[in-house]
Amino acid sequence: MIALLLKLFWTFFVIGLFTFGGGYAMLSLIQAQVVVEHAWLTESTFADIVAISQMTPGPIGINCATYVGYDVMTTAGAGHLMGIVGSLTATLAITLPSFFIVLTLVRFYTRVKGSRVFEGVMSVIRPAVVGLIGAAAVILCVSVDWNGLVPSFSIVRDNFPDWKSWCLFAAAFVASFKFKVNPILIIVLAGVLGLLLY
């Protein structure tokens, strides 16, 4: 358990260090590390956690880290208490890098601001982060297995069991993208529809 806690700390420390571009970027990193890399949680559990994080007050990235920290420990067979320790570990670890970096930046900010090197690096990081967030959405829908050089694609059945779930996906997409409906409202409506449809 201690080994798992240390791994959890390191994983979330690195996530905090590499989160450029806000909460959704952090989600994509958490998913890549926790679901894909370490397989601590499944895609569907992660989707549940994202939905809950979005509906709860507070930054979505921090909420997600706290929840994942708890779930990783309890999924590994630890009790509530270790779950709480896990969520504390993940939350602290994910904020520590920002702490050091912001406090360093405060001193050098006037020099960094507008520097062409800094701007040059950020102009590459920003579009990359867009791609990472896109990958997070794709990973929730499709999984890829490689047999040597041959990829085989399959739908993530836990998240998309049937055609009704694709209708929900499309409806949520249009509501959010075209009509700017509040995400929290969309999640609540989707939950009600889930009760009615299944």
Binding site: T56, P57, G58, P59, F99, V130, G131
Partner: protein, 187 residues
């Protein structure tokens, strides 16, 4: 020594901000602004700098803003207190939900509710990504980098950390090279 802002007050303000932020960091900006300028803690002209700095550091925007604002008010102590303040309310709320939800999540009603919610989550992540792309990707190479990162992580299963590391190093090398060439050209 001029009158110092009490640590408890800093904690209280950021706890309030953290507790009422629904929907992420950007929703916090106007709340932080109102709380801080009404107390005379910060001039309106300073806020854009705080936001810009918070955005250029890795991590969560809201947390970065608390770290910076707390530091300006009371140094390191202030930044620790402000950060704890902005994290604690959501930490406790989520923890409570996690503990309660873990004993309900296999109940048939909850399973049905989340059967409806799960597909929607993917759409709710895709939309901000598309909005960010439309707003930020102005050049063909920006789109190419986005597409590369998406394919590399979603299909080729590279870790985003390595993608970011490689891109940072390449971008640094490229801009430093261009800077030097520019200087030589002028000199």
């Amino acid at each position: 020594m001029e009158e110092r802002v009490r640590l408890m007050e800093i904690f209280g303000v950021f706890a309030k901000v953290g507790a009422f932020t629904i929907g992420g960091g950007y929703a916090m900006i106007p709340i932080i602004q109102r709380e801080m300028s009404s107390r005379g803690w910060i001039g309106d002209d300073e806020l854009p700098d705080i936001i810009a700095l918070a955005q250029s550091a890795p991590g969560i925007l809201a947390v970065n803003m608390s770290i910076f604002a707390g530091y300006k008010l009371r140094g390191i102590k202030g930044s620790i207190v402000a950060t704890l303040g902005s994290i604690l309310p959501c930490f406790l709320t989520i923890l409570l939900i996690a503990i309660v939800f873990s004993s309900f999540k296999d109940s048939p009603v909850v399973v049905r509710i989340f059967k409806g919610i799960r597909p929607v989550v993917a759409a709710l992540i895709a939309v901000p990504m598309i909005n960010m792309a439309l707003k930020g990707n102005h050049t063909w190479w920006a789109w190419a980098i986005s597409a590369f990162a998406l394919v590399a992580v979603a299909f080729l299963k590279f870790s985003p950390i390595y993608i970011l590391l490689v891109l940072i190093v390449l971008a640094l090398a490229f801009t430093l090279y261009r800077e030097r060439k520019g200087k030589e050209g002028r000199g």
